[in-house]
Amino acid sequence: MRHQLALQIGPVAFRIGSAWPEPLAALARLYAAYPAPADDICDFTVRLEPEKPWRRWIRPSVAIQGDYVLPDAAPMALAHGLLAAEMGMNLQMALGQKRFLLLHASSVEKNGRALVMTGESGAGKSTLAALLGERGWRLMGDEFALLDLDSGNLWPFPRAISLKNGAIAVMEGEAPAERFGPLLEDTPKGAIRHLRPNEAAIVGMNQCARPALILFPRFGADCAARGVGQAEIFMRLTQSSTNYVALGGAGFDALTGLVRSCPAAAIDYPDTEGAIDLVEALWSEAA
C-alpha cells in the first residue's frame, strides 16, 4: 500500500494503509507519542481506498476497506479521511475483536479501579470520560471498554476521543490546542473533532484496572441517581456489546462476573460540572 501507518492502542495494534497521504498524516499527528506495534504484528488492517480507481484523483472518494467491512457503507470525502480511518478502526473492533469482551462504554481509572460509563450514543459518556481524564483520572477509553475474559479486569483502549457538536467547545476549554485534530464539519453526525488523550493515558495504556462502578449517564435532567438492577445491567451490556454472542460461555462468565461484583447506578445530569460532582460522590461510596 502506498502509504502506511501502524498504531498500538492498549493491547490492540492496527495498521492503516491509504491511497492518499493526507489521512495518515492527520492520523500520525493525532496519535503523536503513541508507540508502534511491537514485532510489527497487527491485530487488524484498515485500508482507505478509492471507491472506483478514478476516484483517487477525481472528486476523491474514500471507501473504508479492511479485514472487516460494512457491505453498503457510503464512501467519504477525502477531507474526512481522518474520520474514515477512525471509523475503520472502530469497525474492525466491532466486527473482529475476539480476544476481549467489548462493552460499548467509556472508562476511566483511579487507584487501580475503573469507572465504566455506558448508555446510548449522545448520552455523554465520551465527554464525561474526557473531562474526568483532565481532572485527575486516567482515561482508559471513550468508545470501547475491553473486559479480560480470564481475569475480569478492564484493559485500556485509549483511542483519540471523538467529540461531537457541543462537546467540542466543552473540551476546547479543557485541553491544549495541540492535542486536537482538525475540525471536521458536515459529517453524517454533524461536526466532529478528535482529541488525543493526555500523557497519563498514553503512558498507562498497558495498565489494567479492576471495574468498581458502572454508571448509566443521561443528560438533560436535574442531578439524580438511582440504583439499577443486575438483570437490567446485564441486558443493557449484552445489547450494546458487538461481540458478546461470538464469545459464547467465556463471554457469559465474564459478564455475569462483572455484573455480580460491580455496583451500578443510573444518573441524570443537567450539565457537565454537575455530572462530575455526582460521579465523584458515587465513586467515593463505591470504591
Binding site: P37, D39, T45, R47, D67, G248
Partner: protein
Amino acid sequence: MKEGWLNRDAPPSQRGKPGPVRAGARQLVDALRDPENFQTSDWSGLITAARAEQLLGSLAFRLEGRPVPERAASILAGARREAAQQRTQALWEAEMARRACEGLSVPLILLKGTAFHAAGLDAAVGRSVGDLDLLVPRARIEEVEAALIDAGWERIKPADGYDDLYYRRWMHELPPLVHRDRDRMADVHHTILPPTARPTPDAAALIADSIAIDSGVAILSSPDMIVHAAAHLFADGDLAGGLRNLWDIDRLLRQFGAEPGFWQVLATRARLHQLTAPVALALRLSARLFATPVDAGIAGRARPSDRLFEARLLARDNWGRPTRPLLRFAFYLRSHWLRMPPLMLARHLLVKARR
C-alpha cells in the same frame, strides 16, 4: 485403473531461512500445508490474508502449540475460541432444523461445514460456518420449507415474480430462509448443482447413499462429499472463497483416502454424477497447493488451465486485497456460463438489466 500417488512437492518455502515474504494467500497456504516448518516476518500479512479467506480459525488450529510471537499467539487463541462458538452455533441450527422437521420423516442431509462438524471430521477443525445447508428430496422440499417456516424461519424477501420463479425452476435450492430470532440463514437444496448446469448430478443417488448420524439427520457418503466439494468449487461459482473450499478438500481427502477402496468408489461416483473433470481438477489443485496425496489416475495429467485456477485461488495480497482483476473477471464470466445455456443466460441478463 492406474495405481499411483501424486504428491507434488510444496513450492519453495522459507524453510528455516528468512527471505522475501511470499504474498498473502501463498504465505497462508504455506502455513496451512506445513506449519512445522513455517516461518514468516510478516505475521500481519498472514493474519490479514487468513481473515480475508475465512481461514483464520483453521490456521489457528494448525499453528496451535507452535512457537509463535506473543501477539500472534493471542490473536490465534481468540480465533480458536471463536471457531468453537461457530461450531456450536452451526450444530444448533442443524438441531433446530431437525426438531422442526421431526414429524415429516424426511431425512435432512447436512452439507458443507455443518456436515463436517456434525460428523467430527478433520475438515471441521477451525472451520467457520455461516449458513445451514440442507439437501432434501425434491418432492418433499415444499413440506420442509413449510415446517421450517412454522418453526420461526422466514423468507428474506417476499415471494416475488421473477426472482421466485428463477429460484424454484432454475436453481437447485429454495430462496434463502433466515430465522427470525437467531438471525441465521438456511439454504434448502434438492440437488447440488443448478438444473441448468451441464453436469447433472444424481440427487437420488446422493440421498440413497447418505449416512444417518442422528435421527432425521444425515451426511453425504465420503466419496459424495468430495464430489460435492469439487462441484461447489469448480462447477458452480467464480472461485470466490475458493481457497477455503480447497482446504476442505485437502482435509477430506487425507481423512478418507486412508479408507480401503475409497479412490475406486470416488472415481465411480464422480462418473455417476458427471463430475469427473471437476473432481480430477480438485485432486490436482489440492496436491499442487497442499501436497495432498491423491490417486494419480483419477487426478489425471496437469492441464495448462490448472495454473489459472491456482492463480485465481491465490489472488490475495498481504494487505488482504484481491489481486488479478482480469483473471477474476474471467472467472466471473465463467460462473455465469456454467450455470446456464447461452440463450437462457441472455434472457436472464436482459430481465435483470431491465430492473
